[in-house]
Amino acid sequence: MSNVISAKNLTLAYDNGRKEIIKNASFNIKKGDFVFITGPSGSGKSTLLKSLYGQLKPKEGNLVVGGRDLANISSRQLQELRTHMGIIFQDYKLINEWTVAKNVVLPLMIAGYSLDVQETQAHRLLKHVKLSEHADKYPLELSGGEQQRVGVARALAKNPVVILADEPTGNLDDYSSNVIWDLMENACQQLETTVLVVTHKIPTIFSLPYRHFIIESKGVYEVH
């Protein structure tokens, strides 16, 4: 299996390179892998995830995602790369002025799909996350768990190569969390999507084989 993500001697830093968060990290993630990244608060879990979707450029080393080296990527190439990613946030990051259906098809809208296709896909995706009856509602009319399901549906909209999730169940109760884990397991299993989840705690109900990385003292280590 080919690597979807590959890091070699990766160093990430804020404050114009002065504040190093991750240093000399090397790891490979293959197509279809389900990866948990854990670590103490402030260890750099979210920073690593940000660098994977190009919000933070590596200070040193190589970080290749979907065949693109993020250390030397143009904004146009980054834009294109992001259209192959599904990103899920702890705070959902839905567009509150848009309906649930419109939020879900944002990646399709960006890719220039016709309104008919968008409508069909919105219906299919909302059915998949069991929110069909909420299609015309606005995000703020939904509970936190429902909003995160919208976020998952949006991440799945364009059958992404990789799903990056930052504490996707951080704000949810156990029931809602289990629903989200189910959806992400299904995506990985059925679509062979690579899934990377940053979380402070690996869910106990998780049934799929997974890989586990810990970030500690600026290093990224795989737990076997």
Partner: protein
């Protein structure tokens, strides 16, 4: 209320620019004939010993464009009233030739002096009168007023453009989360800035309509009732439908420049 305030903060500076432009257009149209009169109505007086041709004068100075002889008989009949026919004939024989000489363009007083010198080099030419001071002062006053108007409109335009860009930045801030989410999912700049374009173009139409309404009111209501002759005579020039197209074009251009300025000035999410 906040919605109206936000739009007014954009529409009012845009209207200030459009009002300035429309005011200049109206000023230009209504004073056009006056300016033409000042420019084209000007002639210098040339007195010669023998008749002269336009060709000859053009050889002396290329700025000379027209030549019109003043009827000598008319001069004699005006200055020699009650004089015998014979005496009139003698006066006519002794009288030099008078010409009104027009120029090809508006020239400054130094250029007029040069023309005068060039002409006076010819021994046939007895005298050249440029009437330089009155010509210059009238036209210069007009040109100065026009220049001041341009400066004022230009200054107002710059200040208003800054206000428009400032308001655009506020809108961008208000929509920053939406734009960030779209950016993270790979939306191109035009799609991300779509919301700003929509609002700005809508306001450009509103500002154009309001500005046109002001001038239509001036044209059909105020000017008609003003009792000012110039206003009543030039009522048609106060607003033309083509002005609306010009104003809309300018308004759209300004808002597009403002959106691009604001959107391109941000670095995006890349750190």
């Amino acid at each position: 209320m906040k919605f109206i305030k936000n739009h007014l903060m954009f529409i009012l500076p845009l209207m200030a620019i459009l009002l300035g432009i429309e005011f200049y257009l109206v000023f230009d149209r209504t004073t056009d004939s006056y300016e033409k009169g000042l420019k084209e109505g000007y002639t210098m007086l040339v007195v010669t010993k023998k008749p002269v041709t336009l060709q000859k004068l053009k050889q002396l100075n290329p700025h000379i464009a027209t030549l019109e002889a003043i009827k000598r008989e008319q001069i004699v009949s005006e200055v020699a009233q009650g004089v015998s026919k014979q005496s009139k004939k003698e006066i006519l024989a002794a009288l030099p030739y008078f010409y009104n000489v027009g120029l090809d363009s508006y020239l400054g007083t130094s250029a007029l002096e040069k023309i005068k010198k060039d002409l006076e080099k010819d021994s046939n030419i007895k005298r050249v009168e440029t009437f330089g001071s009155s010509y210059s002062s009238a036209y210069r006053l007009f040109a100065f007023i026009k220049f001041l108007l341009k400066v004022f409109i230009g200054f107002m335009g710059i200040v208003s453009l800054f206000l428009i860009i400032k308001q655009m930045e506020i809108w961008k801030y208000a929509h920053r989360e939406r734009m960030q989410v779209m950016e993270i999912f790979g939306a191109p700049l035009m799609l991300r800035a779509g919301v700003l374009f929509k609002v700005a173009i809508f306001d450009a139409f509103i500002a154009t309509l309001l500005t046109s309404a002001v001038f239509l009111y001036v044209k059909f209501v105020w000017a008609a009732q003003s009792g000012i002759d110039l206003m009543m005579q030039k009522q048609d020039d106060l607003f033309k439908m083509t002005d609306m197209a010009i104003l809309l074009g300018v308004a759209l251009l300004l808002v597009i420049v403002a959106v691009y300025t604001v959107v391109f000035s941000s670095k995006g999410v890349q750190e």
